[in-house]
Amino acid sequence: MKPIIEVAGLSKSYVISHQPKADYGSLRDDITSLLRRPFQPHITQGSNRETLWALKDVSFEVQQGGIFGVIGGNGAGKSTLLKILSRITGPTEGRAVLRGRVGSLLEVGTGFHPELTGRENIFLNGAILGMRKQEIEKRFDEIVAFSEIERFLDTPVKFYSSGMYVRLAFAVAAHLEPDVLIVDEVLSVGDARFQKKSLGKMGDAATSGATVLLVSHNMASIESLCTRAMLLERGRLVKIGETTEVIKEYLSIASTIASQNLADRTDRQGSGRLRFTGVSLRSGESGQRSDTAQCGQDLEFVASFTSTGNLKQVNPSMAVYAPSGQCLVVLDSEMAGVSLDSVPRSGHFSCRIERLPLAPGQYYLNLFCMERGEIVDWVQNAATFTVEAGDFFGTGKLPSSGHGGLLVPQAWSCNASEGDSFISNEVAPG
């Protein structure tokens, strides 16, 4: 059987202007530039114009059924790919074939009008998503039940709470029954319980023969939902295959860490008998260096240095800071009971931790080194690194962003008070 999505040599270029210019082109700008250079071709060439390939020569196939993940960093071309496949924008080169009815969900509640009631918006949004009026009527009760907003069905949505709004929007989208569903990041909205319900609905669709193409930054949801995935990097397809393999590749892509020229930094304190020259993260088995880590991953912080060579009682330490400036974790050799009696002229300290307990986000690393109670080097914000979502708890769940930065293994139970004949039970191992 033919693959349901077939993409060959798909590319998309944008011409970007390096001129400082307003967001909207103004007619005057283009006319004046036309007058200034009347004999030069307009738009193209010119030193201040550059062609940027948002997507370059991407080819892949997706077989029918299941959820297929698309991952990649910012600017990797994920959104461009989705926009081309959902026909919002056209490709510059290449060709894509989608076999079946295509539905795309790049946002929940596209076209919702605040002045219209919930009932009216179900019809409007359904039609925008590509449902026929008849289909919407047929599934109307189901949609309303799913959204849990029965009581407010005839209230304009501008009076809805954001939670209600999202639930209604998602309810409509979840009842779209295309052969191919293209979904972007929309799972990150709504409360956790409703998210789960929506994911379940999507899973149902996938098992009943629909194909879902899912883009997400949330590695935990990609890992738990998708069997296969692909990795985009700067507009190119880097890897396609088993989800776990693709995620591993994503995390290990060695990008240059902010501290590459740490040796040149002058904003440091200390005697300078030892100087940090670089810092990197090394993850688990592969031992590859990167500036990204994943929640729950075994990780090694590595700080390289040069020294005068004759140092005694050396205590290096590192501290992890949140962007808010709060210190979250201190890794201190003295605290760990390690004191180094000699260090080489050039080498590295490494500190290994198990199951990285940081929630997804961006973090900063400070480096600090003492010798016999005297500071020899101290660099603040020596590096930044990113922690990607990972399955820390084995449940695919993580605290929603802004609700806690540290992850702690936990076990829950519920027990009766004395005298109550209640059989105690473990509720959820974590």
């Binding site: 007619l27 005057r28 924008t89 060709r95 894509a96 076999r99 596209t110 009008h113 019809f123 009026k133």
Partner: protein, 292 residues
């Protein structure tokens, strides 16, 4: 980009139902091919967009659809007082109130439809960047709400005819809707062009209101065509709205005979506007999401 439905005999060993009948091919577009079957399949969305605009039009207003009647009526009164009584513009056999209201009825439709059409892409920005639909349905559906307003304003027109005891000629009754259609073509033609330009150049936001207020005076709304020397009249008819308004006055109010030759100039220029507008819109259509 096209939507193909292929019906073909089953190949050897292929089970019925195994083949997907619908195949969507996405390619860089080279030709300006219009897929009418696809447009037809989006007719419901066209209807929903129009329905939304109508529903929302007078939401949260105290007087609601009365505005559609109130506005042209007051303008007519002001015009009658100033241009007729004070400035002394004569409208021949027809009472000036009916004369100017006829012009305003169609002019308001044209100008509001043109504005709505020009802004249709920008006002649907959030939808355009998130989902596909044949873009061309939006500017057209944006004018439907103006047809509804026209309907309300028509009530006053009918009232005026009764008040002044004017019996419309049979040609007037027959030509009334075709003239509305001509105004529609002219408005959407220009509107499609401006809607596409508006995606890249928000200058349109300043151009259209300016054009509309200027063209009110280049269109015989306030004054009769007869005030213009005969040899220059054809220039006036290049503006399709001249043809529309003058034909309605001629046929309905019985002010002279219909100038068929002049009307055909207006028709030709309206059709021209629509063709140019459509072609330009279709050429730009695919990059809307990139620039909006």
């Amino acid at each position: 980009m096209e939507l193909e439905e292929t019906i073909r005999p089953l190949k050897n060993g292929e089970k019925p139902g195994e083949s997907k009948p619908l195949e969507l091919v996405i390619e860089p577009r080279r030709a300006l091919k219009t897929n009418f079957r696809e447009l037809w399949s989006y007719r419901e969305l066209f209807y929903f967009f129009a329905w939304r605009d109508i529903k929302v039009r007078y939401k949260q207003t105290a007087f609601g659809a009365a505005w559609a009647i109130f506005q042209p009526f007051v303008t007519m009164v002001v015009f009658t007082v100033f241009f007729n009584r004070v400035a002394g513009i004569k409208s021949g056999v027809i009472p000036y109130a009916v004369f100017s209201y006829t012009g305003l009825l169609f002019w308001n439709f044209f100008s509001n439809a043109l504005l709505g059409c020009s802004n249709s892409m920008v006002s649907m920005q959030s939808v355009i960047t998130k989902i596909y639909f044949p873009r061309v349905i939006a500017p057209f559906s944006a004018t439907i709400v103006n047809v509804v307003d026209f309907g309300f304003a028509f009530l006053i027109y009918a009232g005026l005819l009764v008040y002044y005891r004017i019996t419309p000629g049979i040609l007037g009754v027959l030509l009334f809707l075709p003239m509305l259609f001509l105004a529609f073509i002219a408005a959407t033609g220009l509107g499609l062009f401006f809607a596409a330009v508006n995606v890249r150049y928000r200058d349109v936001r300043f151009i259209t209101p300016f054009l509309i207020s200027t063209f009110l005076f280049l269109t015989p709304v306030i004054y009769p065509v007869s005030m213009v020397p005969a040899r220059f009249r054809w220039i006036l008819y290049l503006n399709p709205m001249t043809g529309v308004i003058q034909t309605v006055r001629n046929s309905t109010l019985g002010e002279g005979a219909i100038q068929w030759g002049m009307l055909s100039i207006s028709v030709a220029s309206a059709v021209c506007a629509l063709v140019v507008g459509l072609i330009y819109f279709r050429r730009q259509e695919r990059s809307f999401a990139d620039y909006i």
